[in-house]
């Protein structure tokens, strides 16, 4: 059967560097940092990292209470990003409930903050008498997806991939496949995560969180740099509106880019450590899906979280794929690691930069780690409008994910 071409017609972002794709993209191109010192981390015993990239300025009351009562912060971020994506895509309201529009939005976990608040109260007397009706809806694994569908009246397929840092990259890939297969016409896809000290601790106990830049937070996240020392956690949401090209053209929607390739694989060599060959295999499969060769790529947006092992492994896999022929950068130097949201936030920003004709360099990449040599790492913004772009996200649990985008030319 013939597959439907899939395009991106909208994108929404809630991030430490702005609450819209345009704001975020401008901040990334200016080389700004969303990372700051977080005093509350001083009170967590054993935690050494004190920095994070947090979302500011969200008024929960802009969301009607009827919908908000079942939302933790991550669902609010996902809802607000989804609304932006629909607005940017000029998506007709009457399509939301036609059964051909879906939602694929995931998070690493249900809300840890809600869970902590509940158990802090529960452990005082082991009573469930104060348990509110909204609790479960904030804790469930598909909280973001369900809340977005409920609040926007979307009646098609609802899925919630949960693969930690690869979550929203997978969400975009699964949406691409469902639309390509003709099962849905449009899907809001992406991810969301909310900051919690436990997330920082997850990396810190593995010696993978940044601890050396607590006094200089904006220097803390520095992918590929010789002086990097680990992940800086972020939060937020990224949501893309994917749509069949046929549907987008029929309704005269603005087309931002095409999704032309996707692969996701399981790396069984370790549940925690990256493997170069597994990363390479995932990227190769995505290129095969797109029907292009590696030399046709003109930019790669790396996962690169500023960890010692992960950045080296990804560079080695990229070098194996295309050597130093393709410019590579990571946005995590600006934004920290937004975890389940990172794939869709970074894809959205990449699409915006493809259209603006300027690609952001990796922030804080002053001295390239000799072990990260072999690829062309961007230390300055690059003025190009790439045709084919590769986007990686890799997650603990051995989950690898790659998306291939193609710029859209109206012809």
């Amino acid at each position: 059967m013939a597959l439907e071409p899939v395009v991106i017609t909208g994108a929404g972002v809630i991030s430490a560097l702005g609450h819209s794709l345009e704001t975020l993209t401008s901040a990334l191109l200016r080389g700004e940092s969303g990372v700051r010192y977080v005093p509350e981390l001083e009170h967590v015993g054993g935690l050494r990292s004190r920095v994070a990239a947090l979302v500011d300025g969200i008024d929960p009351k802009q969301i009607p209470r009827r919908f908000r009562r079942s939302m933790s912060r991550m669902s609010m971020y996902a809802y607000l990003a989804s609304v932006q994506a629909l607005e940017m895509g000029e998506f007709p309201e009457e399509y939301l409930a036609n059964g051909r529009t879906g939602v694929i939005i995931g998070s690493t976990l249900g809300s840890t903050e809600t869970s902590e608040r509940f158990f802090a109260d529960y452990f005082t007397d082991h009573s469930l008498e104060r348990m509110r009706s909204g609790l479960f809806f904030q804790l469930m694994g598909h909280s973001c997806a369900a809340n977005v569908a409920q609040s926007l009246g979307i009646t098609g397929r609802v899925l919630a991939p949960a693969s930690a840092c690869a979550t929203s990259c997978q969400a975009v890939g699964y949406a691409y496949e469902q639309i390509a297969f003709g099962r849905q016409d449009a899907i809001l896809c992406g991810g969301a995560d909310e900051f919690h000290p436990l997330t920082v601790a997850t990396f810190d106990i593995l010696h993978a969180a940044s601890t050396a830049y607590n006094e200089d937070p904006q220097q803390a996240s520095r992918p590929f740099d010789a002086a990097r020392d680990g992940v800086v956690c972020g939060e937020g949401s990224g949501v893309l509106l994917l749509e069949s090209k046929k549907s987008a053209l029929q309704r005269g929607a603005p087309i931002l880019a095409e999704v032309v390739g996707f692969a996701t694989t399981s790396d069984t060599s370790s549940i925690a450590n990256p493997d170069v060959n597994a990363m390479y295999t995932c990227m190769r499969l995505a290129l095969e899906d797109a029907g292009i060769e590696a030399h046709e790529l003109e930019y790669a947006n790396a996962h690169a979280t500023s960890t010692m092992q992960g950045d080296i492994a990804e560079v080695q896999a990229l070098a194996q794929l295309f050597g130093d022929k393709v410019p590579v950068s990571s946005f995590k130097g600006h934004l920290g690691h937004t975890l389940a949201a990172s794939g869709a936030i970074e894809l959205g920003a990449t699409v915006a930069m493809m259209r603006r004709g300027e690609i952001a360099a990796t922030r804080n990449l002053h001295t390239i780690d000799p072990q990260c040599s072999g690829v062309s790492l961007l230390q300055r913004n690059l003025q190009i409008s790439p045709k084919y772009v590769l986007k990686n996200n890799f997650a603990m649990g051995g989950i690898n994910c790659t998306i291939i985008l193609r710029s859209y030319t109206h012809d």
């Binding site: 009351k61 209470r65 009827r66 009562r69 008498e129 348990m131 509110r132 009706s133 909204g134």
Partner: protein, 84 residues
């Protein structure tokens, strides 16, 4: 507590929990049609009232008959009188 104090505590607790406009909170107001609550909210309403008045009402049959804010006032006033 006086009757007026009980009613004030009910109304202020429900207004805070459900973000209600006090002007709309008349005794005749239907909690579903006029105040916009639903079945999930009534679960939380019981918890809010139990917290405010330190009584247990979850198992009370008469809770299910409540339709108006005035019904809530009367129900709580009766419970408060029983417990005093």
């Amino acid at each position: 507590m006086t009757e007026q104090e009980v009613i004030e505590l009910i109304d202020s607790s429900l207004a805070e929990e459900f973000e209600l406009e006090r002007a709309e909170m008349t005794p005749e107001a239907n909690i579903y049609e006029d105040l916009g609550l639903d079945s999930l909210d009534t679960v939380d309403m019981v918890i809010v009232l139990e917290g405010a008045f330190k009584f247990k009402i979850r198992e009370e049959e008469s809770v299910r008959a409540i339709r108006t804010l005035g019904d809530i006032h009367q129900f709580v006033l009766t419970k408060v009188a029983e417990n005093s």
